[in-house]
């Protein structure tokens, strides 16, 4: 695919929502004044009676979605990750997660992909917040196709769901027919030396790192952990048992995200050394996402060095 044609996970939203609405008349789409950002105008003109702009009011967005779910609808609530998971957390907890309502939160411009907007927009703790909510499902896809499939699959999922989407174009990882069950993971590359678990944009870095490591004689196994909760426990466990060491890479605070989720599994079922590649408990700042990836040590080189450190410590 040519450079120009690269798509971001966020680009999958509008078309997937149209497809979903054609499939099921219970679906409604609510947003907090970000139709243009997500490209919802086509959707709105096709389904005017099923599109709601709640204005600049994330709490009200979540509450209205909760009420519509109580009235039998399946609401997709779209907003910026930072203001959805951050500002509206209490409403998500009390009005949606506790009563286990089928509200799907589509959180866009997550993490450093918000780039130039700066720290306020860059949710680097949203996975931790959402993962700690009972009943909440948390998904972090790595490309356009997997985002599209996960959005379509979310229709039949029970309970609330949070899908975290970056807004920078990414290379294609998957074909149109690949399956992406909620709770699953994808073994992107097999290897017996070290397991690399990654999500979102870091899956691409993990693949680049695996190629570099292969040249050094370290065969990395790469898992796309797009389903952070529920985590693909069996897939991860069996890989950790084979390789005996692990690197987790995520574009999120190292506290509470995918790294913590993998470490919880490892600590309780197969203790092995792990290294974490992520944001070291800091807020973001303005910059292009490429610059921020470098600045916050979120590149394939950092995965390579983490793997080189953890590999000699592997447990066999």
């Amino acid at each position: 695919m040519e450079e120009k044609a690269l798509l971001s996970p966020k680009d999958a939203v509008a078309e997937a929502l149209i497809h979903l609405c054609e499939t099921d008349d219970r679906i409604v789409v609510l947003n907090a004044d970000i139709s243009s950002c997500v490209g919802l105008h086509d959707f709105t003109s096709r389904f005017p009676e099923r599109a709601y702009n709640l204005g600049v009011a994330e709490q009200d967005l979540v509450l209205t979605a909760a009420g519509m779910a109580l009235a039998g609808k399946i609401p997709y609530a779209v907003s910026y990750a930072s203001f959805l998971a951050g500002r509206a957390y209490d409403t998500m907890r009390n009005a949606v997660a506790m009563p286990n309502l089928p509200v799907r939160f589509v959180a866009v411009c997550a993490g450093i992909t918000a780039g130039e907007e700066g720290a306020a927009y860059q949710a680097l703790e949203d996975i931790a917040l959402m993962r700690a909510l009972p009943k909440m499902t948390v998904l972090v896809p790595a490309d356009f196709q997997s985002t599209r499939r996960l959005l379509l699959n979310s229709l039949s999922w029970n309970g609330p769901l949070y899908i975290r989407l970056g807004c920078i174009p990414l290379p294609r990882l998957y074909g149109t027919d690949d399956g992406f069950p909620v709770g699953g993971g994808r073994l992107l590359r097999e290897g017996k030396s070290v397991t690399i678990c990654a999500c979102g944009i870091m899956v691409h870095e993990a693949m680049k790192a695996a190629a570099v490591l292969a040249r050094q004689g370290i065969e990395a196994e790469v898992i796309d952990c797009y389903s952070i909760k529920p985590l693909p426990v069996m897939l991860i466990q069996s890989s950790l048992r084979r390789t005996g060491c692990c690197v987790v890479a995520e574009e999120h605070n190292i506290i509470g995200g995918l790294g913590s989720a993998v470490a919880e599994i490892a600590a309780t079922t197969c203790p092995i050394p792990i290294r974490f590649v992520g944001v070291e408990d800091r807020f973001g700042q303005s910059g292009s996402s490429e610059e921020l990836q470098e600045y916050y040590a979120l590149t394939h080189q950092h995965i390579v060095s983490a793997a080189a450190q953890v590999w000699p410590l592997r447990r066999r």
């Binding site: 409604v28 009676e49 099923r50 709601y52 709640l54 204005g55 009011a57 709490q59 009200d60 979540v62 509450l63 209205t64 979605a65 909760a66 009420g67 519509m68 779910a69 109580l70 009235a71 039998g72 609808k73 609401p75 209490d90 409403t91 907890r93 009390n94 009005a95 506790m98 009563p99 286990n100």
Partner: protein, 280 residues
């Protein structure tokens, strides 16, 4: 409203208050004052206004009620028990481990409730969403939301108040239990709400007033409110602890339970007040 009907409602309200006092004493329930201020409102709405089927709690065409002032849920629980949604025995297990009646409403556990509550200021937004959902489904039920006045200090309420008006939610009715008290004292001293009716009107709401402890006054206000298209709000003037003098006197008592030995005194006071009321 016919005099004998008002008398009947007063009798029901007396029984509701007596059960609230029993709950407070037996279970250590802390929110008796606030539950008492809302008692007549709940009785009027559940016995005079709402279309319900206790034997079919999820009947799609029922009227909905979202209790936003979640701490006062004991009043709702007593009303639901008396309307036959579940056994009155459940009341004595309020807030105990595994109970159907949680300290704050958990929707999935309790038949007859339309939404959970606990975090203040969220009810109106949920009520709006229900109204929008019902509109899509072509169901013409009404959605009531009972709010405390203290919780109107939450910003989320005002976000949702804008939504009710801008989406022309004609079947949304907010009922505000204006007891003028919050946990730490009078609302007007802590974070003033007045002129509350002007605020709501400027947000695009129609506003009505009533004495929240007088069924004739409530009847008149509800008749007027339900005859127009909403969103409409009823500001009901109430008193914390209404009906139980020991709770009325000791302000602020919003979070105070009553001891077991005070229960019989409170029940006697309630009976006496009701007798005096009937004679007068």
């Amino acid at each position: 409203m016919k005099c004998d009907r008002a008398k009947k409602l007063e009798q029901i309200a007396l029984e509701v208050r007596k059960d609230l006092v029993r709950m407070a004493s037996v279970t250590g329930m802390k929110y008796l004052s606030s539950s008492l201020s809302m008692a007549d409102l709940i009785v009027y709405i559940y016995w005079e206004v709402m279309s319900l089927r206790p034997e079919e709690p999820n009947w799609p065409n029922r009227d909905r009620l979202v209790l936003s002032k979640g701490h006062a849920c004991p009043t709702l629980y007593v009303a639901l028990a008396h309307r036959g949604f579940f056994s009155r025995e459940e009341l004595w297990n309020y807030n105990k481990l595994g109970s159907m009646l949680q300290g704050h409403i958990e929707m999935c556990r309790t038949p007859g409730v339309d939404a959970g509550s606990g975090s203040l200021g969220l009810g109106l937004g949920i009520a709006n969403g229900i109204a929008l959902g019902l509109r899509c489904a072509g169901i013409r039920s009404r959605v009531f939301c009972i709010l405390g006045d203290g919780e109107l200090q939450e910003g989320s309420f005002w976000e949702s108040a804008l939504t009710s008006a801008s989406h022309k939610l004609s079947n949304v009715y907010a009922v505000i239990d204006r007891n003028a008290a919050q946990s730490e004292g009078p609302t007007e001293e802590i974070k003033a709400l007045e002129p509350l009716d002007e605020k709501l009107k400027s947000f695009g709401w129609q506003v009505f007033h009533a004495n929240g402890h007088d069924f004739a006054s409530l009847h008149q206000a509800f008749q007027a409110m339900l005859s127009i298209d909403g969103p409409a709000a009823l500001i009901a003037s109430t008193k914390t602890g209404q009906g139980v003098p020991m709770m009325e006197k000791n302000q602020p008592l919003i979070r105070t339970a009553i001891a077991r030995d005070e229960m019989s005194q409170a029940l006697t006071e309630l009976e006496e007040m009701s007798r005096n009321g009937n004679e007068g």
